[in-house]
């Protein structure tokens, strides 16, 4: 089935490495296409290779073989400097443990990608405010992350991921450290961003019910491969 405007194309991607004596095929000859604007959930047991795949798409890791084409660019062949630029401009990333820098205020945490992208100082404050409005968190800007609840921290992390206006948002178990209500709220927020900003979202999770409720499509991995018939078309949950 041809897809008009793919955001991400994985073409026979493999990521192998050796750990001690064993040869690990974390991602093994995997092909997958994510159309622009889709909310894709990557499911699978632990060790199935879903996080490795996410890191490959994020440009934090390089495939052993195969091509990863994001918005027309094969990131597998980028130089490390261009890869950094790709992470900065095309990708936004959130994590299970939020990964906010504890000694910076919320505002500074969100500003960090703008510093890395060398955005003018005068432009930074409005961009930070805009990102915070998107995650519905405009107060407590001067607080430190540890003074916030988990859900709030994840919102700040999402704001930080959004501040450079990326096209693709990658989420690595974003609800893993949150209670179910908060987790739902976060996923609902992600869905709003997807529809509001037209973002492509790839989320790694092992909470199938949540994924089924919020994601457009579920991709199930096992042993580094996309399981047969794993790409499940699913009606948009309403």
């Amino acid at each position: 089935m041809p897809i008009a405007d793919p955001a991400i194309q994985l073409d026979h991607v493999s990521r192998h490495y050796t750990m001690g004596e064993t040869h690990v095929r974390a991602v093994d000859d995997l092909s997958l296409t994510v159309p622009g604007g889709e909310f894709l959930a990557l499911l699978g047991s632990s060790g199935s290779g879903k996080s490795t795949l996410l890191n490959l798409i994020a440009g934090l890791d390089r495939p052993t073989s195969g091509a990863i084409i994001a918005h027309g660019q094969n990131i597998a062949s980028l130089s490390s400097l261009d890869l950094a630029r790709y992470r900065r401009n095309t990708i936004g990333m959130i994590f299970q443990s939020f990964n906010l820098l504890p000694r910076m205020t919320l505002e500074e945490n969100i500003e960090l990608p703008l510093r890395l992208a060398e955005v003018e100082r005068s432009e930074r404050a409005p961009r930070v405010r805009e990102a915070l409005e998107r995650v519905r968190l405009t107060h407590r800007l001067g607080h430190r992350p540890t003074e916030l609840s988990g859900g709030e921290q994840q919102r700040v992390a999402i704001a930080r991921a959004l501040v450079n206006r990326p096209k693709i948002l990658l989420a690595d178990e974003p609800t893993g450290n949150l209670d179910s209500n908060t987790g739902e709220a976060i996923l609902s927020l992600l869905r709003d961003l997807q529809s509001g900003l037209g973002m492509t979202i790839v989320m790694v999770t092992h909470e199938r019910p949540l994924a089924e409720r919020f994601a457009d499509r579920l991709a199930i991995m096992g042993d580094g491969k996309l399981l047969s018939a794993a790409v499940v078309e699913k009606g948009v949950a309403q």
């Binding site: 890791d61 490390s80 992470r87 401009n89 990964n99 890395l116």
Partner: protein
């Protein structure tokens, strides 16, 4: 990242582990301080020596002689059978030399051995004429009493040992009178110049020697004789204005030699002239100019060159010892930053995930090392300066207890301040090279997984 953001982040990171980074910075400061203190002593000693030497007049004075009359007697002319007769060292030559750039004064040395009477008792001593230029040469700094009131005053300055011979209380001598007894040359009938005449055995000239007396007022007492250089006959212990001394036409040691040699001249010639340059640095060029005029020259410049070499080596050694502490301090920087990498592993991973390039991470650690070096350098220069002051203070307390003049032992010139600061930053950056590249190479996937 932009430099401002980079510095901002670096300083913020340093503030986070404040105690550890402050201690590391203190280590750098101690290293720089030891370097600055050592070098300030080296520089101070060098300045002290240079000052003493320039006060002695040895290194800014050129001794000029007619070419065939280079120092010792009976020495064969260097260029055998020279084409033209050597140029006479006469008044014209003196004026010509005086017009050369950087010349303070050209004078003929007057120095003779004679007898001084004080309170009716005779004392034998060497008397020397002091040119007016020695007033400001620093030679008479710290003397008791005053310099001569005028260039032709009948006044004397005594060297302290001589003053002690004259009286138990040397200071009380200032203002008193003494009598100088000397032998005046008086030209014989046919001689028309004072010191240029024929052999005394010939009927044409020569001179006779007549005993004379002159009353001199003691105006000051000085520690050492300045310009003790080329006179021979040991140090002069009684100093008087050069003009006064010249006017005495006292018989000098060189006179007899001149009579033997210089039997043709009809005008005043000098056996030698002393040329005082503005500073020792100009002696070399001045020497060449005078040599080109056709005279023999001699100075102690070579000696001062080797002295400078000595001080360069001395400073180098002090610098090496001073740098040892700094070397230890740089290991502290390496250690601190490597620790910081371990602690901030996850943060480095986050930075990379947010789009930091390897070079951003590298620069961040690099700047952190540089900032520690910079502050370490500032405090180090300050400590080093204080240390130098303390050593000078201690030395002077000791010197004063032994009734010696205090000295400026350490000196921190601006070039030392800036080069120490620059060196501290440079060394810290070098120390930061390894941690920075290690941080940059950190695999973000591993770093993010790190708890």
């Amino acid at each position: 990242m932009k430099p401002r953001d980079l510095t901002d982040l670096a300083v913020r990171n340093l503030r986070e582990a404040l105690l550890r980074n402050a201690l590391t910075t203190l280590g750098v400061a101690v290293g720089v301080a030891s370097l600055v203190a050592m070098l300030s002593l080296g520089v101070g000693l060098q300045q002290l020596a240079a000052k003493r030497l320039s006060q002695s007049g040895l290194f800014d004075t050129i001794f000029v002689t007619p070419k065939n009359n280079f120092r010792g007697m009976g020495r064969p002319p260097r260029e055998a059978a020279s084409e033209k007769p050597p140029r006479a060292l006469d008044e014209d030559a003196r004026k010509e030399i005086e017009k050369l750039p950087n010349v303070i004064e050209v004078y003929s040395q007057v120095r003779f051995f004679t007898e001084v009477r004080f309170n009716g008792k005779p004392f034998a001593t060497v008397v020397a004429g002091m040119p007016e230029s020695s007033r400001n040469s620093g030679s008479f700094d710290g003397m008791t009493g005053n310099f001569f009131s005028s260039p032709a005053a009948n006044e004397a300055i005594l060297q302290i040992e001589f003053a002690k011979d004259l009286s138990d209380k040397p200071v009380s001598l200032v203002g008193q009178e003494l009598v100088l007894r000397y032998a005046e040359r008086q030209a014989l009938a046919s001689a028309n110049a004072a010191d240029a005449s024929a052999n005394s055995s010939e009927p044409t000239g020569g001179f006779s020697v007549v005993p004379k007396e002159l009353h001199l007022k003691i105006v000051g007492i000085v520690e050492t004789e300045p310009a003790a250089g080329f006179g021979g006959m040991g140090n002069a212990r009684l100093l008087m204005p050069l003009e006064t001394a010249s006017a005495l036409r006292a018989a000098q040691v060189n006179d007899l030699r001149d009579i033997v040699r210089d039997n043709t001249a009809n005008k005043t010639t000098y056996p030698s002239l002393s040329v005082r340059a503005k500073s020792p640095a100009q002696v070399d060029a001045l020497e060449t100019s005078i040599k080109n005029m056709g005279f023999g020259v001699f100075s102690l410049l070579d000696a001062s060159k080797s002295l400078r070499t000595f001080f360069s080596v001395f400073d180098l050694l002090l610098g090496i010892f001073g740098s040892l502490a700094l070397a230890v301090a740089t290991l502290g920087i390496v250690n601190t930053l490597v620790m910081a990498i371990l602690e901030r592993r996850r943060e480095i991973g986050v930075l990379k995930a947010l789009g930091a390039a390897d070079s951003d991470v590298q620069q961040l650690f690099f700047v952190e090392a540089g900032v520690m070096g910079f502050f370490g350098g500032i405090f180090g220069v300050l400590f080093g300066w204080l240390l130098g002051r303390a050593i000078t203070f201690g030395t002077n307390v000791y010197l004063q207890r032994h009734n010696l003049n205090s000295i400026e032992l350490s000196s921190v010139p601006w070039w030392l301040v800036f080069s120490a600061l620059g060196f501290a930053v440079l060394v810290s950056l070098v120390a930061g090279l390894y941690p920075a590249s290690r941080a940059a190479k950190l695999n973000p996937v591993d770093a993010l997984r790190y708890e």
